[in-house]
Symmetry: C2
Subunit: 361 residues, 2 copies
């Protein structure tokens, strides 16, 4: 049994409306609050608790501290047929993210590819949400963001890069769209915190101590930094470090935002994070028919899934499959939300005048 099975479950629309009411009460327009809520709830639906409504408290705190402007609107600074630069003016990351990805898709509809670079951005939730927006248009979607420094470069011991995720979505036309949505660190910092609370050892490749030595001790890891994907040098950590830096180049450096160690610490209320983000949409139809593309993609997924299993392995999954299953179940049975988070939603909802959030009976 998964821990989530003991959580209260809340209907998608109930959770979205409740979240939106809280964001609106914090100062956003009804429309922007709804957009923000939809992106957050989409994360919980996909089973990614870490980027869902659990973060709402921190968004509200950021708004109240004046480091996130809930009324700011994204603005196109310059554009061409296939590209655009957007200034998010430190507004809600979900609002500017959806705006930017819509623009990338619109450009790709005309020019076969659309690339939108975004500056002065804030946390935008799961990167996968924006990449997946392309799917309904029969397009490939990509979204990247830089983030607060948590990861040390290979050979170093200071956190200088974010967990800088790569999200890539491709339309399969079948039950499982291909959706890769991964941090370029081995694990998020939350995994270390959970291990520390439960007094569990870490796995190799997760983290280093404050001297920069790989460690399996969660307490030591909390004083150190995360390792990039691949872990130590010998197991390919320099590749994860390279990928995190590539994301940094396409986000902070390309857009003219902050980058690397210049970005503020996670959820600080002292100054805005000034993130850079990258959105891209690509039409497979520029190269052939969508149907043939989808046929090949489904065939690749099938071939991978039908491969011989490793000993003790129950099955081979393809990227996005676990999340597609979670989505199906959570849309049907309600979204599991951690009891502490539900209590917080009740408290914030009461403050916002919409009361407690209805659990599924």
């Amino acid at each position: 049994m998964f821990a989530q099975d003991t959580y209260p479950r809340i209907d998608e629309e109930t959770l979205t409306a409740h979240t939106a009411a809280i964001v609106q009460h914090a100062g956003a327009s009804a429309e922007d609050a709804r957009t923000t809520a939809e992106v957050l709830v989409a994360s919980d639906i996909r089973g990614i608790e870490s980027h869902g409504v659990a973060r709402l408290e921190q968004y509200v705190a950021s708004i109240e501290a004046g480091v996130l402007d809930p009324r700011a609107q994204p603005e196109i600074v310059r554009q061409s047929a296939a590209t655009a630069l957007i200034d998010a003016h430190n507004g809600l990351g979900q609002v500017s993210g959806v705006y930017a990805m819509r623009l990338a898709i619109e450009k790709a509809t005309q020019a076969d590819v659309g690339i939108v670079s975004l500056r002065n951005g804030c946390h935008y939730g799961i990167a996968g949400y924006y990449a997946m927006m392309a799917l309904d248009h029969g397009m490939i979607g990509i979204s990247l963001t830089n983030s607060s420094p948590l990861v040390a470069p290979t050979g170093g011991r200071e956190a200088m890069l974010g967990t800088n995720p790569i999200a890539f979505a491709a339309p399969s036309g079948g039950p499982i769209p291909f959706v890769l949505d991964m941090a370029t660190s081995t694990v998020p910092r939350g995994r270390i915190e959970v291990a520390a609370r439960k007094d569990l050892p870490l796995y190799a490749g997760w983290s280093m101590d404050e001297d920069g030595r790989p460690t399996l001790d969660a307490q030591a890891a909390l004083k150190g930094a995360l390792l990039p994907l691949g872990g130590a040098l010998e197991s390919g950590g320099y590749k994860g470090y390279g990928l995190a830096t590539m994301v940094e180049v396409l986000c902070g450096v390309l857009s003219g935002s902050l980058y690397g160690p210049l970005i503020a610490n996670l959820w600080t209320l002292e100054r805005p994070s000034v993130l850079g983000q990258f959105f891209m949409a690509l039409r497979p139809e520029a190269f052939g028919t969508l149907e043939e593309f989808q046929q090949r993609l489904q065939d690749l997924q099938r071939l991978l899934k039908e491969g011989q299993l490793a000993m003790d392995s129950p099955e081979i999954l393809v990227a996005g499959e676990k999340e597609a299953r979670a989505t199906e179940r959570n849309r049907r049975d309600g979204i599991p939300v951690h009891p502490t988070v539900v209590a917080k939603l009740d408290e914030m909802g009461t403050r916002a005048g919409v009361g407690t959030v209805s659990r599924r009976s």
Copy 2:
């Protein structure tokens, strides 16, 4: 002392001309032979022996066996302002690769971004070569290729994906361009072969045995498959698997070539490999001035390099730095080539009528 320090050294132009003569003798035009030689030698210059002139023997064997057509010319199947699909007609991978990347750069010059998908391709050497072609034009370059199955998906034990590299280059305007050129497996198969020959243990995350269990035993690993970057599931191997599959989607699936386990085994002489490749050029000037982009990129490189060192770490490198140093030294002192490879170059040169290759005195 590195093993390479004991190798004979050959001047860049000498090695390029010798290699080109062999490729031309095998059936390519003088121009195409020169292009092929330049890409191969560029790999050796950058210190990447595995993809350089050491492979020449296999290219020639492929031509002689009729699975690679040295006269075939790449053809544009369809195109728009920002995109193109190329059929490489199973010609020399370096020739079609250079053609495709030039086209991507040309399109980006007009449209700010150029994306070229290539089908019916062959091995094209280091992916980084094509990404780096964008640098001279002040552009970001990306190149991806699928390849023969060597890597098992997470949960599986059969090699079903190639080492599918990601190459990304960005112009810094300084001494070190940012060049990430990485396989999405933890290591190439060559590393396992070397360990087996020298009877050395492997590192964690490199390989699995034939039952799909991670192994440190090189002999067992040779019967198994490579692990994707991240290694086992717990250390993030599913992310490397996801990246390898993403490359597969953008290469084989997008272009209409073969993909995954459908691709022929490495260097087989039985049938063509029918690879798919992806080339992209992006103008930073679509989003701001090139100078400001370069300033930020150099600043990021400096910040990373000046970070606090991990215990026992001599320095922090940025992607492409080691290769930039090798390039400088090898251009000055001559390119180190393994004695066995030099002997082979002599033999092939003699057959091609240009005799042995001149070593540096």
